[in-house]
């Protein structure tokens, strides 16, 4: 399994993660199901917390409706959040709360080290599988 991501999107996610410090950052990914990520949608962290994140349901609805109005078949395919002081691996909270998110990709940006690191996972019935991120283009 791989997740295709353009370099620009990677930079947007990492930039958003730094801008939100000291709080955790979050956002959504959209694309055609099974295809590359088309867009990163930064969202406010409704928790305003350095330890947890939450995306307000109205933000999710806003993005979903916009994608439906565009009518190109693009859907929300994943969620991004940052770990400000830990590795880019899903926490028990992340795993527990993934239950209702289907086959979304979970992309985590770790700011623990001087170099940011992004890793992607699928979480199914509590099992965590890493998905390789393939960067392309500009």
């Amino acid at each position: 399994m791989v997740l295709h991501l353009r370099r620009q999107q990677w930079l947007e996610m990492v930039g958003h993660s730094y801008r939100c410090l000291p709080e955790e950052a979050c956002g959504l990914l959209s694309g055609l199901p099974g295809g590359p990520v088309e867009r990163f949608w930064p969202c406010p962290n409704a928790d305003r917390s350095a330890r947890t994140y939450a995306i307000d349901g109205r933000e999710l609805l806003r993005v979903e409706r916009r994608l439906e109005d565009e009518g190109e078949g693009e859907e929300i395919v994943g969620v991004v959040h940052s770990h400000t002081h830990t590795d880019a691996y899903p926490s028990p909270t992340d795993v527990e709360r993934a239950a209702l998110l289907g086959d979304w990709h979970f992309l985590i940006v770790s700011l623990r080290h001087p170099e940011p690191e992004a890793r992607c996972y699928r979480i199914t019935d509590g099992a965590v599988d890493e998905v390789a991120i393939v960067l392309s283009g500009a």
Binding site: D47, R51, T52, I55, G57, E75, S91, L100
Partner: protein
Amino acid sequence: MSVSVRLPTILRTHAGGLSEISAEGGTVGEVVDDVVRQFPGTSSHLKAPGGGLHRFVNVYLDDEDVRYLGGLETPVGAGAKLSIVPAVAGGWG
């Protein structure tokens, strides 16, 4: 009373692929119960084992979070729009 209910992606497979359905009820709780009656496969995603809403599900009535209205007891009027939205949350804590 019939209201329109928007379903999150994960529930659509249990509702014939529909993103929006009609359900009956005079309160948010009754409408949710009717969704489960029509599409029993949605039950484990919508309902908590001890009753009430699954804790990772949020319900919006015309874009207002029902937790800040009257919860499941919130009355729904004709033509209301209910949106069921998964809670997207987590963190390292």
